[in-house]
Amino acid sequence: MKEKDNDIIEQLDGGEYKYGFTSDIETEYIRRGLDEGVVRLISQKKGEPEWLLELRLKAFRHWQTMELPTWAHLNIPEIDFQDIIYYAAPKKQQPKAGTVEDIDPELKRTFDKLGIPLEEQLALSGVAVDAVMDSTSVKTTFKETLAEKGIIFCSMSEAVRDYPELVRKYLGSVVSYADNFYSALNTAVFSDGSFCYIPKGVRCPMELSTYFRINAAGTGQFERTLIVADEGSYVSYLEGCTAPRRDENQLHAAVVEIVVLRDAEVKYSTVQNWYPGDKDGKGGIYNFVTKRGVCHENARLSWTQVETGSAITWKYPSCVLMGDNSVGEFYSVAMTNNYQQADTGTKMIHIGRNTRSRIVSKGISAGRSENSYRGMVKVAKGADNARNYSQCDSLLIGDRCGAHTFPVIDSRNSSAVLEHEATTSKISEEQLFYCNQRGLSTEDAVGLIVNGYAKEVLNKLPMEFAVEAQKLLAISLEGSVG
């Protein structure tokens, strides 16, 4: 079986990271390193109002007093925060994201290659895309169509300029700069990201999507996403990420804030496929992300994530169930291979009455990777009749990887009913044999079994992306069974 494992792991390496190419785009960089001058420079480049600069400076000063979080089950090499370029943008980019013709053809080719055409007529029907390259948004599609319904979907920079009241009201209202080390860093240097506002009672007619691409070397990406779903509205939001294959590690520290007002519903799906590093663990993205949403009365927030990329993932999309009868959900597939490390999970904070949450986490570890689920379910004193059900499963492929589960249940209300279950298993030889006997290659069999294992989560993704995610899992995993 040992030999078979190796076979399979080798096959897995054959599963090329197909987004590893680099684009030759003229890029504008600012100087390396981080100090107040750099923070001011970023703000100035974006022509920001005074209040935002103030916020950035406050965050930066606070960040300087903070220490790196070390509680995760991760082995993070020392990061030299002075050796990062905090702002890089494709040069020909106009301050206003204009028509497709205004965009650098090379940029357009890059996104075409990634399967994200920037021309609306070629785009996936029913998906509006905000394409972010390095530090800036290059193009947002279907803006006009959405505007007819009063939906605002644009880059964060545009939002700061065009909808300052909305941004000012909600930016930092869910994730404060002082929340953690990376949220402070992000607040100080964030360059772009997406902003989305769904007006009262509007059901967004198409999927909204942001596609993040890191291209420039030596840079970090610090994007900021803010989604506000006004009372009774609905939106489904998708996020995809890729980066070139490089030997160095690059830092990606994003913040996503979601405000779900009364009776509204937001579905947020992520297919994270940052460059994971090579089979010896060289290179890859450090993905240190803070994602959180607040649910008001009767609101519903559902996180779905498929995490296959990044050298290190540190990510806990959470729900603050503030309003009565609000619902939070977290569906996750986290897959690690080679030397990847992931410490991911969620927090469900029950504050309102009759709040419900559900957690389904499927971890898959292969190679020499480390994969941890970390979750917290907290029930505050006044959260009468809170309910949570958590199911966290781990699948091990090979005997040199680790699968860990670190849940915390903290209840201060005696009417709460909370359940957590976890299991750990491996793909059995019997299952493989059975598939082989029916003519499937081991590689296909593993893909099949893993997809079956992850199905409950994959089913939560919008259809086009579910297919994509399934392929992604199979590619990242091809073969590594034990």
């Binding site: 089950h73 029930v379 004193k381 781990s394 091990l396 492929i397 090979g398 005997d399 040199r400 990887c401 680790g402 699968a403 860990h404 589960t405 670190f406 849940p407 915390v408 249940i409 903290d410 209840s411 201060r412 209300n413 005696s414 009417s415 709460a416 009913v417 909370l418 359940e419 957590h420 279950e421 976890a422 299991t423 750990t424 298993s425 491996k426 034990g482």
Partner: protein, 275 residues
């Protein structure tokens, strides 16, 4: 008879500290009341019973070593806010069955290391906290080698302003294949000021394993109360009966001398009545 009286009249051997070596199968359990430091070694193939009774808020450090094929039944009872550390290390094919009852704000750490193939560990525990007590039940089970089994079930009941904390960890070392480990934490909160924290954790570095854990926090089952009241039991009695049933299966596993078990059950009952 109360446990304290039982101790007064205790005709059993009482080791308060130092080393004990069990070299042959003993008919009588070894009993230690309020040990401060205690080392117990059960020799190869020997079957022994050990009872630890903690009646004072002191500190205790207990080390138990099971040689190959040894078998130990360990009953550990806390009637006061003791701080205790109990380390169990097991050689191959040894078996350790533990029953732990924690009444009051004891803070207890168990560290069970399965160091020899085929070792088995089972632990059944219960903690009951009232008023402003804070009970901590910390349990780490280390599967350091292959082919070991462990199973634990810890039940907690807290009322008043009490806090009950369960911290569990099942660690499976690399190459500790064919590990079978289960850990369960079940808790009941009574009243609106009580606080339960439970952290059942798994850290696994081998792939051919059967590991699972479960944790629940809940309340007294209203339908069961209703049912019992329809049969004529008062609400208060129904609650007590339900709680006794909840912790009962743990107490039933207590297999040391009847006198002690009965006395202990009485202690638990009177504690439950205060909930």
């Amino acid at each position: 008879m109360r446990v304290s009286e039982l101790i007064e009249n205790c005709a059993l051997h009482n080791f308060s500290g130092g080393d004990i070596v069990a070299n042959s199968d003993a008919a009588q359990p070894l009993v230690s009341v309020n040990p401060s430091t205690l080392k117990v070694r059960v020799a190869e193939g020997v079957k022994a019973q050990l009872v630890l009774l903690h009646t004072k808020p002191t500190q205790a450090s207990v080390e138990v070593d099971l040689a190959e094929g040894a078998s130990l039944s360990l009953s550990d009872f806390y009637l006061a806010g003791t701080f205790a550390e109990v380390k169990v290390s097991q050689s191959s094919s040894s078996e350790c069955r533990m029953v732990v009852v924690q009444l009051g704000d004891a803070n207890v750490l168990y560290d069970i290391a399965l160091n020899g193939r085929g070792a088995e560990s089972s632990l059944n525990g219960v903690f009951v906290g009232t008023d402003s007590e804070h009970s901590v039940f910390d349990l780490t089970t280390r599967h350091n080698v292959s082919d070991c089994r462990s199973e634990s079930l810890v039940k907690g009941v807290v009322s008043g302003r009490a806090t009950g904390e369960f911290r569990g960890m099942v660690y499976v070392a690399q190459d500790a294949q064919r590990t079978d480990a289960r850990q369960t934490s079940r808790n009941v909160e009574i009243g609106n000021m009580a606080h339960i924290i439970t952290k059942p954790q798994l850290e696994i570095y081998a792939d051919d394993v059967k590991c699972s854990h479960g944790a629940t926090v809940g309340q007294i089952d209203d339908d069961a109360i209703l049912y019992m009241r329809q049969r004529g039991l008062s609400e208060q009695t129904a609650r007590r009966v339900l709680l006794e049933g909840f912790v009962g299966d743990v107490l039933q596993r207590c297999d040391v001398c009847d006198e002690l078990c009965t006395a202990l059950a009485a202690e638990v009952e009177s504690k439950l009545e205060r909930l």
